[in-house]
Symmetry: C2
Subunit: 311 residues, 2 copies
Amino acid sequence: MKEITIQAPATVANLVCGFDVLGMALEQPYDKMTVRLLDKPEVIITSLDGFPLPTDPALNTAGAPLLAMLEEPDLPGGPVGFEVLISKQIKPGSGIGSSAASAAGAVVAANHLLGNIFSKEDQVRFALFGEKVASGVKHADNIAPCIYGGITLIRSIFPLDIISIPAPPLHVTVVHPQIEVRTSDARQILRKEVLLKDAIRQWGNIGGLVAGFIKSDYELIGRSLEDVIIEPVRSMLIPGFDEVKQQCKEAGALGGGISGSGPSIFMLSKDAVTARRVEQVMKAIYERIGLAYHTYVTVVNQEGVKIVSSQ
Amino acid sequence: MKEITIQAPATVANLVCGFDVLGMALEQPYDKMTVRLLDKPEVIITSLDGFPLPTDPALNTAGAPLLAMLEEPDLPGGPVGFEVLISKQIKPGSGIGSSAASAAGAVVAANHLLGNIFSKEDQVRFALFGEKVASGVKHADNIAPCIYGGITLIRSIFPLDIISIPAPPLHVTVVHPQIEVRTSDARQILRKEVLLKDAIRQWGNIGGLVAGFIKSDYELIGRSLEDVIIEPVRSMLIPGFDEVKQQCKEAGALGGGISGSGPSIFMLSKDAVTARRVEQVMKAIYERIGLAYHTYVTVVNQEGVKIVSSQ
């Protein structure tokens, strides 16, 4: 195999109460990437659609993980390298895991070209170098669902411990108001300390959300989608947030909140009809506010990065 | 029905990472209580075994919940009251839910005498008045498992939201070193703020523990029994804690930690043989330290407060 083309899905990190620990992969949108095996130890990055990506691989979210992979001592065969051709559909800075898709997609594709020598955990470890480039922090809550599919819990990052959380069918509506929220800025406005009583409320909700997913209890999922720590601070950066949340719940959504560090907002629904109704609510709000936006109505992606073709 | 006798089980609150939200009922030990229906609106408390209980019902953990119950506007029939005869087996101050057993036992028994007019949630609400008397705080993490049985999650206390968490068979070993740790003192030494990074680690563990229970994943249960916030502070009040924890894990326990606010320490094991071996380890440590202790080897109680007889 000399060349492989994959789709790397968008992801929703945090899932409201699970800051830095929970994440979920989406069927739509996804990045498309082709990775070619080279016979020299180098990494070449090419943007296929005019997105201005850094071409120095050490500064590129797809390149940095591949450089880390090439430093592994026991790669098979002679010298290898990778050329990565990226067609980005997930807009950088949208809050639905754009950098994670590039990083995870490149790693999964490269691992296939090398004959599947790395475990999923190893692949997450490599892809984290891409998040470090993008936001300065090695957070795995987008990377893990992008590689594992479905909903994942990062129980621990050192040592890495990723748990797949089964869940009933969920429909996801996402609105991306076209303002820029940089992940690094969204992290800086968070306080380094939280009140113990708020932390207790948060861990009740995380326990409830995980139990709701595994027990297929939609009502419990809805009640647990509450965040008393991060959302009150970050939502101030997102025009229309409170309205979107309230009106979408009135329209039948189970609940939702900021996707990752924003500005995208996601809502979970039990069925497709509700998810479409929620989309209409979101559209009406941003039309009225007069802010450009984009919406997605989709479901949870169960397989993670998908191989489209190889040769 | 004029009189009812019940057993109210001991409970382990917190379950290491779930401070104030998780709890588990035990088969052993339990308090025995007889409650008699009176035709006057009063509450009489009698200790059957010489434990010096407060006889003013407003200051008694079994009495305060019954006084709250008697204030309900829609009690059936004429004026009613209760006489409570308590035979305490769960030592107050041991950290395995002694006050909760008195409160929950009295409420469940009284509710039966009234013809089961209150829901389990209502019963928890009444029993919380007992915890308020005992520790100054209405915490439900002992009350809920005592009334519901099994393992419970308090997702929220206002409004009250209690979730039963299914789990695989678990064997529990408890050691009660005979030193006094008052719940109110054990609360006071806690900081009011916690580091966000510690809170994140904690919610990873809570998610992991809940997932481990529901998925019957013993290894995940073991890995998730980690507390970076409360245990490092409270364990200093318990002589031998670090040794007990380390040596019990070496003896095969999945993990464990402080029961409630201590001084009891509990350990979970996959089978009875390991649970007995863990008991031997605990005994050896407190023999060497020269501190009086008591141990229990038991399993999770699935039904909560149990009715023994009624007439």
